[in-house]
Amino acid sequence: MLRALCLSLAGVLSGTVAPAQSINDAVTSFTLENGMDVVVIEDHRAPVVQHMVWYRAGSADEPKGSSGVAHFLEHLLFKATDTMKAGELSATVAENGGTDNAFTSYDYTAYFQRVASDRLDLMMKMEADRMRNVRLTERDIVTERRVIIEERNQRVENNPRALFSEQMNATLYLNHRYGVPIIGWMHEMETLDMEDALSFYRTYYAPNNAILVVSGDVTPDAVREMAERHYGVIPANPDLPPRLRTEEPPHRAARRLTFADPRIAQPYVSRSYIAPERDAGDQDKAAALVLLAEVLGGGTTSFLTEKLQFDDQKAVYTGAFYGSVSLDDTSFDLVIVPAPGVSLEEAEASLDAALAEFIETGVDPEQLQRIRTQLKASQIYLRDNVDAVARQYGRALTSGLTIADVQAWPELLQSVTEEDIVEAARAVLRPEHSVTGYLMQAEAISQ
């Protein structure tokens, strides 16, 4: 409260609107009567707005045998509704000087438009329309199915690294839907039909399963008024199912795989461990894992880079990655690209030796301090990028987190200690929780 008062005084004195000092100060949230959550992120530097609707429905919510239907439906939502022709929504956005698109992940599907802020009402009107009123033809199904198959060709079939990554994921998850690719397995995509798409649509596309995220040159009051008018009148789906997914059993055995493809010129070793994700009110373990990934593989001064690229010269590249935002168990991933003359076996052994050494010697306190400084600064840089802030909220709220969790997160990251990081490494980097993959060049078969 006090901080807000000081800021507004400063604004009066300088004759300008005082900038928000933390991005949290620019965020307002509320819920419509039908259960639709709303997040508003103000940035009045330019008269532009981004309007996003996120559904708590992604590929991990699909029925068995219909992999890819969440993403297929995302494509089909650009077709006709009761009041718009196929393609009319995008054409109308373009006619208003805006851009639009959509994306699908394991835990969410999101639709967005970027446009001048005085066109927000029209965007909401059209987005609300396609939440309930899409009208598909058999021709839409046939043509758009070809498009998603070409999309899979482009992203996956033509890219052996993506094929390898699919095999890694499918091996890591013993029982959870995250083992199935978001875009779908090809043989199941080929069978997706009208009823698959509409059944997913009817089940999950409802205001009580959606989050509206508006960022840019808007006020919360204006967003509330428009949202009530366009989205507030849509009835909630009383039959919305809870998001119960099959869960992972304990992982008891290290798994290994080898993938060979003639298109691979640079072999490498990939390692994934099953890992806990951020949970509402319980983000400490995940915060330690974020720091662990930074300490191990977050740049030139990270532990693996120094050890394996500079000192031992076993690798041309090493990296550590952790996706903290996820509804269910996520993964902690490592990669090592061997230096010339170093075999994959030798690279893997060096990686394991480095990890053991890290757990033994612990975290360099100066390195941790530098990472904290960078994380703190990233909060300043973030204020220049409300689009990223909007996506943060959309991802978090579709992955079981609350606004309070999002806002507590930066402080939580600052509070992680050296001991927390080593403890996280001990808990997660266990062979029986892992999959190790070799990506290799296969001899081309001539016919």
């Binding site: 330019a46 995008s90 005085d118 033509n158 640079q266 960078q374």
Partner: protein, 434 residues
């Protein structure tokens, strides 16, 4: 603060959706020019530097030297070796970027106001005193070679290299600026030092800054930052006429989806009809779901996930390019539809409705680009390299709106050359003769 508001109000009247982009020209004591947008709402500055020439300034027989040199700028400078440099950058929480492409070496930096002097001093050491330590050279060289080996197995890279070789004769554009396995392997420390003085000189540089900095502070900062660079860099290569024959070049590569690049000669940025060509291309394949190519190849036939065409006016050549990917069994149909659309546009031009929709989109979407300090700095440095006036942002939409059906008719007649459209197809396409 007064002039800031005055500018905002003036532009709001002319253009409801324009971001508050008030560009000041800063002339420094040592004779440098920079464009600045002051915005003190967030305590950091985004700086963008570009050096004209890029990898096209590689010395004879030293292909890849400028690319490798650029990769080594943050791998040790002044008193600091690679690791010490990285630690210093992390302590300052400054973000630096160094890259090289056909026509430019790009240096970007974002730094906090609280430690601006130290962040700029570190950047100065990177661009004027890179160490090129032998161990750093070997380490980065191996990374580049690893990338080159992967590129050789990537259908998109194969298509790009093949198209370059066909389009640009004996110009540097005809080969990949990253070099070849052989040329990169042979580069010496002296070659890299030479590449540095060829590509990063004061007479090649363009500067823009956005954020929490005054014109006075920027002026002092730049005079210091660029003080130790040589006055003049290597001479620019000559112009090259793009002289493609129509037809198809198939590169046999075992992969399920064929990747195609297609194109012919294009139009220079300073051509009086450039805006007409730009609007026309938007209608043909300029992105978004509404273009003719997207409608015919994706929406109506489901032959691809995405298809685009783009005017590419480079510094020494102009091409008109497009790209598409489709399964080996359907790429021939995609090629045939593209040819028809190319011919149809050359023959019939566009409709009044298409022109109006394109103009509405292009004028409305333009302000949306100015959405962040680094983005605005990037746009301003591009404007300077293209020789555009400082008030260009105010006049650009009027130029788009002034394009008439006759203008497009005229451009379509000359620019669109269906008989010269050349396709490079990488994959195992069926029904295409290369």
């Amino acid at each position: 603060m007064k002039p800031f508001f005055a500018a905002v109000i003036a532009w709001m009247i002319a253009w409801p959706a324009l971001a508050a982009v008030d560009i000041q020209k800063v002339e420094t004591n040592s004779g440098l020019t920079a464009w600045l947008v002051e915005d003190h709402s967030i305590p950091f500055t985004a700086l963008s530097l570009r050096f004209r020439g890029g990898t096209s300034l590689d010395a004879d027989g030293k292909r890849g030297a400028i690319h490798l040199m650029t990769g080594l700028l943050e791998e040790g400078a002044g008193e600091l070796d690679a690791r010490a440099f990285a630690r210093e950058a992390e302590e300052l929480a400054a973000r630096y970027g160094f890259s090289a492409s056909d026509d430019q070496v790009t240096v970007t930096a974002q730094f906090l106001t609280e430690n601006r002097d130290a962040a700029v001093a570190l950047l100065k050491s990177a661009i004027s005193e890179p160490r090129f330590d032998p161990d750093a050279i070997e380490r980065v060289r191996q990374q580049v070679l690893s990338g080159l080996r992967s590129d050789a197995q990537d259908p998109n890279d194969i298509a790009g290299k093949t198209f370059r070789a066909l389009a640009y004769g004996d110009h540097p554009y005809a080969t990949d600026g990253k070099g070849t396995i052989d040329s990169v392997t042979a580069l010496s420390r002296d070659d890299l030092a030479d590449a540095h003085s060829r590509a990063m000189a004061r007479d090649l540089v363009y500067v823009a800054a956005v954020g929490d900095i005054t014109p006075q502070d920027l002026s002092v900062l730049l005079d210091d930052l660029l003080a130790d660079l040589p006055q003049t860099g290597a001479p620019m290569p000559g112009e090259v006429a793009v002289d493609l024959e129509g037809g198809v070049t198939v590169v046999d590569f075992d992969t399920p989806q064929s990747v195609a690049l297609f194109g012919h000669a294009g139009m220079n940025r300073d051509h009086p009809d450039f805006f007409a060509a730009y609007v026309m291309n938007h209608i043909l394949g300029g992105g978004g779901f509404e273009s003719r190519l997207m409608t015919e190849v994706r929406e109506n036939r489901g032959l691809t996930y995405g298809i685009y065409s783009y005017l590419m006016p480079k510094d020494h050549a102009a091409v008109y390019l497009g790209s598409v990917a489709s399964a080996n069994g359907s790429i021939a149909e995609a090629v045939s539809v593209i040819r028809e659309e190319w011919a149809k546009l050359a023959r019939d031009g566009v409709s009044a409705e298409e022109l109006e929709a394109a103009q509405k989109y292009l004028t409305g979407a333009y302000p949306l680009r100015f959405d962040g300090n680094a983005r605005i700095a990037d746009i301003m440095v591009s404007m300077q390299m293209d020789g555009l006036p400082i008030d260009y942002i105010n006049t650009r939409n009027a130029k788009v709106e002034a394009v008439t059906l006759d203008d497009i008719r005229r451009v379509a007649d000359t620019l669109m050359q269906p008989e010269r459209l050349h396709f490079v197809v990488v994959g195992k396409p069926t029904g295409l003769d290369g």
